[in-house]
């Protein structure tokens, strides 16, 4: 595991498994989705108006920088959503597949 976040305590919790961009990720019960994702990865999503990856900023639901997507296109704010076993998460916007018209 080579994530951005490092666990300092509370490491005896039950394990939880989620899928991020098709890859299995192991987390712990009680993690936020953000901690689950950043304990094994380094970012959550891409900025819309810049080249950089984003990993959240405020962790208290104020900056809105950590929104990720469920497999069916639902939105989750990673810092304030508890991780759930079997969650399927995408770090890119599903609307990419919308048809272009005109």
């Amino acid at each position: 595991m080579n994530g951005r976040f490092t666990r300092l305590a509370e490491t005896d919790r039950p394990k939880v498994n989620i899928i991020v961009d098709g890859q299995p990720v192991q987390a712990m019960a009680g993690d936020t989705l953000m901690v689950a994702m950043l304990s094994s990865g380094t970012s959550l999503r891409s900025a819309e108006f810049g080249p950089e990856k984003r990993a959240g900023f405020c962790l208290m639901g104020a900056c809105q920088d950590c929104w990720v997507w469920t497999a069916d296109g639902g939105r989750l704010r990673a810092c304030s959503t508890p991780v759930e076993n079997g969650q399927q998460i995408s770090t890119s916007q599903p609307e990419v597949t919308w048809p272009n018209h005109g």
Binding site: W67, G73, H101, G102
Partner: protein, 376 residues
């Protein structure tokens, strides 16, 4: 005291574009704006640059306007984010009579140089798969589009200024009086401006000034409901709207090139023109979102990140007051565009400039005469 050929009261899209076109015709112009240019309805509206759906006899004005929208970047020297990406008007299954109306409208509009394509069934679904199951048919206008209202009026004001117009912001007119052949306009800060021509383009405040000048107009000021989503990849080119007689169902959306989808329509709120404030009512936001999901269920996944409104002036027949005064020489009006002035705005400015400069215009304005309200 300052004197010019024309004083324009009101720095929205109508006033700013009139100033621009008057300067192009060599007339000296002083524009007085209570607040900042383009801050009210001109800057807060949905941004539809839509000809279809307008009264057929308004299409010459709309066609004139679209010419300006198309060359706005070169003409104004700045980008107003005009996208000629099409406009789609749809109707629902519970009002099948609208299809016939759409077809009739398309036939009439063709005579006026606006080509529309009626789409139904598989052709409609194939082209616009994101439309909801309740959508029965649509009328597609490939050469309409949308632009950024926050940028348009200030761009006209800057361009007019470059051509020599005097633009006075934070300058509120308190009285206008005909003295000899000149109009004398006094402002709240005590300044006096004179000109033989006075043009009132004061939007939702136009009725108050008209009343002051002895020509009252029945008028309502309303606050439209606007929302914007988070940015999502740019994929929906045309602006989409619903054709329905029910205010609540009348919603529309457009995606800007940056990706945000702007949602507009459904029930309007009252506004407070005397305070220069209007507020979005949450119940209107909720009903708007409900109607948007009916139109395009896939948008239901997106988040809205902001709502806003502005103050729009409505006349009883939803047609503007546009043209010369019925009482005084040298006095002109262009206000009360009833929530649909943005597209025709540059056409209104150009036509008023023409009318003021030459005394005539080929654009039909008979239906907008202020005297229609004097009769009642």
């Amino acid at each position: 005291m300052s004197r010019s050929d024309v004083i324009i009261v009101g720095g929205g899209l109508m006033g700013c574009s009139a100033a621009f076109f008057l300067r192009q015709r060599g007339r000296s112009v002083t524009l007085l704006e209570t607040d900042l240019v383009g801050r009210q309805a001109s800057g807060t509206n949905f941004g539809n640059v839509r000809r279809q759906g307008r009264p057929i006899d308004q299409l010459p004005l709309a066609n004139r306007a679209i010419e300006t929208w198309r060359k706005a970047k070169e003409l104004l020297g700045s980008d107003v984010e005009y996208l000629q990406s099409g406009h789609m008007r749809v109707c629902y299954r519970d009002r099948p009579e609208n299809v016939e109306k759409m077809e009739q409208y398309a036939a009439d509009a063709r005579q006026m140089g606006l080509d529309l394509e009626i789409l139904t069934g598989n052709a409609l679904r194939a082209r616009f798969p994101f439309l909801g199951p309740e959508v029965l048919a649509g009328s597609y206008s490939p050469l309409d589009g949308h632009a950024n209202p926050r940028l348009a009026s200030p761009a006209f004001a800057r361009a007019a200024k470059r051509l020599g117009a005097e633009i006075h912001e934070n300058t509120k007119m308190v009285s206008a009086e005909k003295i000899g052949t000149d109009w004398e306009v006094r402002t709240e800060d005590g300044r006096i401006f004179r000109a033989p021509i006075l043009l009132i383009t004061a939007g939702a405040w136009g009725d108050k000034i008209a009343a002051q000048l002895g020509e009252p107009v029945p008028f309502a000021t309303l606050a439209p409901t606007m929302s914007v989503t988070e940015p999502v990849p740019y994929a929906i080119a045309p602006a989409m709207g619903v054709m329905t007689p029910v205010e609540k169902e009348t919603v529309y959306f457009r995606q800007v090139a940056r990706g945000n989808i702007i949602l507009g329509g459904s029930t309007r709120a009252i506004s407070y023109p005397d305070l220069y404030r209007a507020y979005v009512l949450p119940q209107n936001t909720v009903s708007q979102l409900q109607q948007i999901r009916r139109l395009a269920p896939a948008l239901g996944k997106l988040n809205i990140i902001r709502v806003w409104t502005g103050i729009e002036g409505y006349t009883p027949d939803s047609l503007p007051v546009m043209g010369p005064s019925g009482k005084e020489s040298g006095l002109f009006y262009a206000f009360g565009f009833s929530g649909s002035g943005f597209q025709i705005g540059p056409g209104v400015g150009e036509t008023m400039a023409e009318l003021i400069d030459t005394g005539k215009t080929d654009i039909p304005l008979a239906g907008y005469d202020i005297r229609r309200f004097a009769k009642a």
